[in-house]
């Protein structure tokens, strides 16, 4: 296959970037999208050019490191697929593919396609944990949890924190990510003791960086882990509850 790429190139945080055209021949339909970029980068390096910087790590669709806005869609055209798990057979020979970094005020471009996603970490640091005393591990199954509840919490916990939801949202909102992180704990008994403080501070941190949710549903559509919009309602309910109660110790 022969591909024509339009790739966002930007030296660093403080310079202006632009879309640059590249032609890549000898692309196999079995290659992953990132392998195709590897092929291009090898050529660029051989020609003495700066290779294109992009984020990746596991390349197995589980770490949440890869990103890329491919033809205006986060992680490309396939549902429930990270960029690293996207293969060139999803494109046609001769296609032009536009590759841009995640865009959001909170995600500054560091170089080419690499953005700083630290605000997502800040949201987790604000309350995405439970406090437990250290010591010997407690017995398993000490706290009985019904299967439907456990399954639902697990669905929220599937979030790999890639930031596609923010990148796709026309409002640049961080709701789906934050909702997944709030819900995975709020739905379980272990998460209940700190629930009031958790949702207050995680939402406040989210709002320091991101836009406001209009329930468009674009986040859900591009999420590689298919996190449901319903979790946003779970978070909102937690938030309304927190606004109405005054827990001791908050």
């Amino acid at each position: 296959m022969q591909m024509r790429l339009r790739v966002w190139r930007q030296k660093n945080r403080d310079t202006q970037g632009s879309l640059v055209d590249y032609a890549v021949d000898d692309v196999s339909s079995e290659m992953s999208f990132l392998e195709m970029l590897d092929v291009l980068n090898e050529r660029l390096a051989g020609e003495g050019d700066d290779p294109i910087a992009f984020d990746h790590d596991c390349r197995e669709g589980i770490c949440g490191t890869c990103s890329l806005m491919i033809n205006g869609q986060a992680h490309g055209p396939n549902r429930a697929t990270t960029t690293c798990q996207l293969h060139m057979r999803s494109f046609e020979d001769g296609d032009t593919i536009r590759i841009e970094p995640w865009r959001a005020a909170a995600f500054p471009v560091l170089k080419d396609l690499v953005v700083d996603r630290a605000p997502l970490d800040a949201i987790v640091q604000a309350g995405g944990y439970i406090s437990v005393n250290t010591g010997s591990a407690p017995d398993a199954n000490l706290i009985p949890i019904g299967k439907p509840v456990a399954d639902r919490a697990m669905d929220a916990a599937a979030c790999i924190g890639c930031g596609a939801c923010v990148a796709q949202c026309p409002n640049g909102a961080g709701q789906l990510f934050t909702a997944a992180k709030v819900s995975q704990l709020a739905l379980l008994p272990q998460g209940k003791p700190e629930r009031t403080k958790r949702v207050r501070s995680m939402v406040a941190t989210m709002e320091d960086y991101f836009g406001s949710c209009s329930n468009f549903g674009e986040c859900e559509a591009v999420c590689p882990k298919e996190i449901s919009l319903d979790f946003i309602a779970v978070m909102n309910r937690e938030y309304v509850r927190a606004a109405l109660v005054s827990d001791p110790g908050d």
Binding site: N71, G72, R103, A105, S212, S214, F216, V222, N236, R241
Partner: protein, 222 residues
Amino acid sequence: MLNLYRSAVGKKVLMALTGLMLFGFVLGHMVGNLKIYQGPEKLNAYAEWLREVGSPAVPHGGVLWIARIGLLAAVGIHILSAWQLTRMSRKARPHDYAKLESVQLTYASRTMRWGGVIVALFVVYHLMHLTWGSLHSDFIPGDAYHNVVAGFQVLPISLFYIVAQVALALHLNHGLWSLFQSLGWNHPSINPWRRRLAGAFAAIVFIGNVSFPIAVLTGLVA
């Protein structure tokens, strides 16, 4: 209230609550106006009852005025929140993509802002047209039936009402679903029904409201 207003998630809660109030009004308004099909006496008696209700406990028109003030406050909170949240979202994405594809974005959801503005302008027009009568050459205070019929016999006015109802129906189609989200009304067993419920209520309001100009234009109500 004030606490909620400080955060964006809280503002959406207030928008959902005020949106629900406004929807309640819109639905009641439509149902009340169905009296037009029972003839002038019934409709005008209903209009008079709106002013009488509650008396002698409250003075003439008292309940009506309380409702008006409540609605005005709801509209104010709704629009102010919409304005501030829109600004917040614009700031969150200053540099956009060459082209952002939409995946499952609906027409109704992405027209909430301008659609809302159209609805607001329509409401002002509607008040001038049929409440204050300032746009009517042949407005008779107290004769709602006559004013509606005379008003809708003008074709462009009827068409404008119908267009505004399309905007309102779209706004409600997304808004009534969205409010379940904003208020956290969700449960695996009701979630599949939320969108359909919103669509059905938007359709009920739409069909009821557009039936009035159409009935006048076709001579069904004269």
